[in-house]
Amino acid sequence: MKKIHKVYALGTVAVFLLASCSGIQGKDEGALKSLGDGEGQVNIIAWAGYVEDGSTDPAVDWVTDFEAETGCAVNVKIGNTSDEMVELMQSGEYDGVSASGDATLRLIAGGDVAPVNTDLIPNYASVFEDLKNKQWNSKDGVAYGVPHGRGANVLVYNTEAGPAPDSLSAMFSADSPYSGNISVYDSPIYIADAAVYLMATQPELGITNPYSLDQSQFDAAVALLTDQKSRVSQYWSLYTDQQASLESGAVTAGTSWQVIVNLATANGAKIGAVKTKEGATGWSDTWMISSKAKNPNCMYMWMDHIISPQANASVAEWFGEAPSNEESCALTADPNHCATYHAGETAYWADVWYWTTPTSECLDGRGNKCVPYSEWVNAWNELRA
């Protein structure tokens, strides 16, 4: 008897191990056909500032009314980088994610997210047309999520450390007045920021898209970042770390998000932020639903809620980005919010390069000679070592 028990126990544990390690996927290809009742909760991965229930600031709350209306309790896990979000989504433990363009394609290709039936999301109708069915949020014309909003990665600077900069040279030039106190986003995707600067300063390299770099262009960007290293005082991945350094004065210039600038300013930091004249990297985020979602109905209700005119206006204003819903512009507390963030201005977004996953197939049609993301990761790892 004892022996049998032992074998049985061994077998059970082995099966668990295999199931968790071999990447077996319960993939469901189709989108939801009709909406049922809420499951009582929804587990989502989001960027900091995207899901606020009043605990950060009592006035900043678009979760409580959603929970009251739908009965879906919202459990949020903050993702610090796109890489972390992909990793978390692969676990299959979450119902959905607010993914940026450098994560969406990987999630779609990996079968981690399901197509979205936009007919079940009434607010989708008033989303800006130039955000729908784009290369980063759809596949073969099928939507894989709803657009959340967009923004540019800004250059943050200490207003007492000199005249306001307007160029990325504050980050990359050897004679930057901020040398030694520069803060850089600690992610491989930051290589694209160097590429944006090279597009303006070294046109002979022929870079047309900062996410599509052939080997020589890629090497030039990495060389620029290696040169920048001696002037950097911080590589941040936790947004609170950059916020603390901005407040203490340890950092006087850096790559930042408007939400960090807002939080640090509220705590008394003397800082400003600008989209640089060379253009900028940026994000256009998409709410996606997991292909293994345990609470799909609540997730659909959340996707409809977060792009509803009022909630989308609140989140866009809090995070400091352009809303995705056209009707949100009439509901922001600051009536000029959409103008400030250029929500409807197609021209403004022309030099904002939304985060995209680099692939060996170049995005600008040069063929199969670009450096894929895995190489970006290796290069960044080596640079940081």
Binding site: K2, Q90, A109, P188, Q234, S245, S248, G249, Y373, S374
Partner: protein, 282 residues
């Protein structure tokens, strides 16, 4: 016969579950980790395939940037261990041999008290101590009171790690002093040895196993740490940061290949410390 079998049966039934746990869950997952270092990654989806490759291992073993980082990490772990040691030996000696018996227990509790505070609380507290600030901000405690701070970097990391793991070094050394009979110190003194001679020739040799045992904790915990270097390290990195980034990339095979470094360093370290008698005194 039955009397002899029954206790065995009882023993077996008690030990089977924990042994199975150790073998399958711990050793098993560790070997799966090692094996996964040899899988090729599908670079787009970020999932490992079932094709075999030596590229990950090659990348990890030959790139000079990584080798330098591993040397630095070992250096940081060794330095943190030495700082702990330098602080723990006199402290433990005082508590064990000099303090009044009634004060002993209170002192020990006081020195273990920091273990009751959370890791992140302590790391961020030290961040507030080391923050160098700049001419545009007053910085942290050191910078604003004495006007100098080592700033964020390896020095701050070493002191933070030493602060975090100090009790793990203190306890075994204190136990070592407790086992050290006072009569040995008296005998040494009677034979004409001075304080330093007694310390060098009598106390230290008997303390080596305790120090080795304590250093296993401080060295291994420091070597594997990747959080405090993020909090107080500025631009510095440790092996753990590289493993984390590879894991989040996500490139699990490469992350697994990197972990072979700390695993083998620790195996060597444990063998050396075992020779010094670390496990006889645990």
């Amino acid at each position: 016969m039955t009397l002899r079998i029954k206790p065995r049966l009882a023993l077996a039934s008690v030990l089977t579950a924990p042994l199975a746990w150790l073998l399958i869950v711990y050793i098993g997952s560790l070997s799966l980790l090692v094996v996964s270092a040899f899988f090729r990654l599908d670079s787009f989806t970020g999932k490992s395939t079932s094709q075999w490759t030596l590229n990950n291992l090659n990348e990890v073993l030959t790139k000079s940037a990584y080798l330098k980082l591993i040397a630095k990490s070992v250096g940081v772990a060794a330095a943190a261990t030495l700082v702990c040691l330098a602080a723990a030996v006199p402290t433990a000696f005082y508590v064990s041999k000099c303090a009044a018996p009634w004060a002993k227990r209170g002192l020990i509790v006081a020195m273990l008290l920091p273990l009751w505070a959370g890791y992140l609380v302590k790391a961020y507290a030290l961040r507030a101590v080391f923050d160098p600030g700049s001419e545009f901000g007053r910085g942290g405690f050191l910078a604003s009171t004495i006007g100098w701070s080592p700033g964020f970097g390896y020095v701050a990391v070493i002191f933070t790690l030493a602060y975090l793991w100090f009790p793990y070094m203190l306890l075994p050394i204190y136990a070592g002093f407790e086992r050290l009979s006072d009569s040995l110190l008296d005998a040494s003194s009677d034979l004409g040895a001075g304080t330093w001679r007694t310390f060098g020739s009598v106390v230290m040799p008997l303390l080596v196993p305790s120090i080795a045992a304590g250093s296993i904790f401080t060295f291994s915990l420091s070597l594997g740490d990747y959080i405090s270097v993020k909090v107080v390290g500025g631009t510095s990195q440790m092996i753990g940061n590289i493993i984390e980034r590879a894991l989040l990339a996500p490139n699990q095979p490469l992350a697994a290949a990197f972990t072979l470094w700390p695993i083998s360093i620790m195996v060597v370290y444990l063998i050396v410390m075992g020779r010094l008698g670390a496990f006889k005194n645990l």
